[in-house]
Subunit: 72 residues, 6 copies
């Protein structure tokens, strides 16, 4: 009985990327734990940049400073 | 001290239905656990259909295929 | 697609009470929203009294002072 | 590795207030637990008044009755 | 800024399986969203079988009846 | 109506530190948002080191390598 909540900053995640995340996480759980996928629910929640704080600062402020979350 | 979070797909839940869920859950907790209702908070969160995955697929895709969550 | 999280202070909730909460919430959702119960998951999480704060105080401290959460 | 979720009713919280909450919580955790702030994430989630139930009633109904959450 | 919560019934998940879930989810998010993995936190929470309800019944009861969550 | 969930790795947080976190967060919310503290609940959840993943690795593994979360 797995339930997964995925919280992300709202920065242009597409419908296709969401589908990739949902199917990828569900398949991973099926592979690692042998769970029936009909018992796995994945919920994605996008968070506005003013509402996510990192190291004490709003992500909206970090982005204005040019600081991204991109992999280098 | 109960706190309840209820996550639902966003599919036309009305204000009256939300009130029924809130009062029903609060009353249930009062009846079963004898809790003062002034200590019970219930939060409803509606989730877009693209953001809920079931069995590895977005609910929006399931709905397009005519698959519902209705009780038969 | 409902998912419910119920957080409670750990104060002697029995297995039977948990079952009453689970079936009561699931039935309520089925009645109000006409959802297939096979899509409803309910998770109960008991929280230690040192770990729940109310009005700025640990519930363990409130209980030591004789303050309960019981319905009057 | 702290993660903090702060759920509030949506009642006009400003960007500046959010920043005060984010920096205040992050600093508190750093002070009390000596945690590197780069490992602390704070997420604020505003909840519509119809979606928050207190003592079995929607907060929107409580507000219509003139009942506020203000400190006296 | 991704945060992931993975809730599972407590049924013998090993440390190695947890590591596979953590690295698998983190890699998936990096691949799909190009996120710096140093900003991704994954939290696993195991839930006792009495505390998870499915279709209105405790999972502990379902397991006693021989009903598993295994993939067929 | 604020509800706060604070997730921390389980690494020797004392009862007194928990009380400082609970009163500090509650006071902050009262100061910034003018909320009645009797409507603020704070829940602390400690997570085992095997169950928290950072940058794709279990925190238990990071700690074995001598990597801490301490502020420098």
């Amino acid at each position: 009985m797995p339930y997964v909540k995925l919280e992300l900053t709202r920065e242009g995640v597409t419908r296709e990327q969401k589908q990739q995340l949902i199917s990828g996480i569900t398949n991973l759980i099926t592979d690692v734990l042998n769970k029936d996928p009909h018992l796995t629910h994945v919920v994605i929640q996008e968070i506005e940049l003013d509402d996510w704080g990192y190291a004490g600062e709003q992500v909206s402020v970090l982005r204005e400073k040019g600081i991204t979350a991109d992999k280098k």
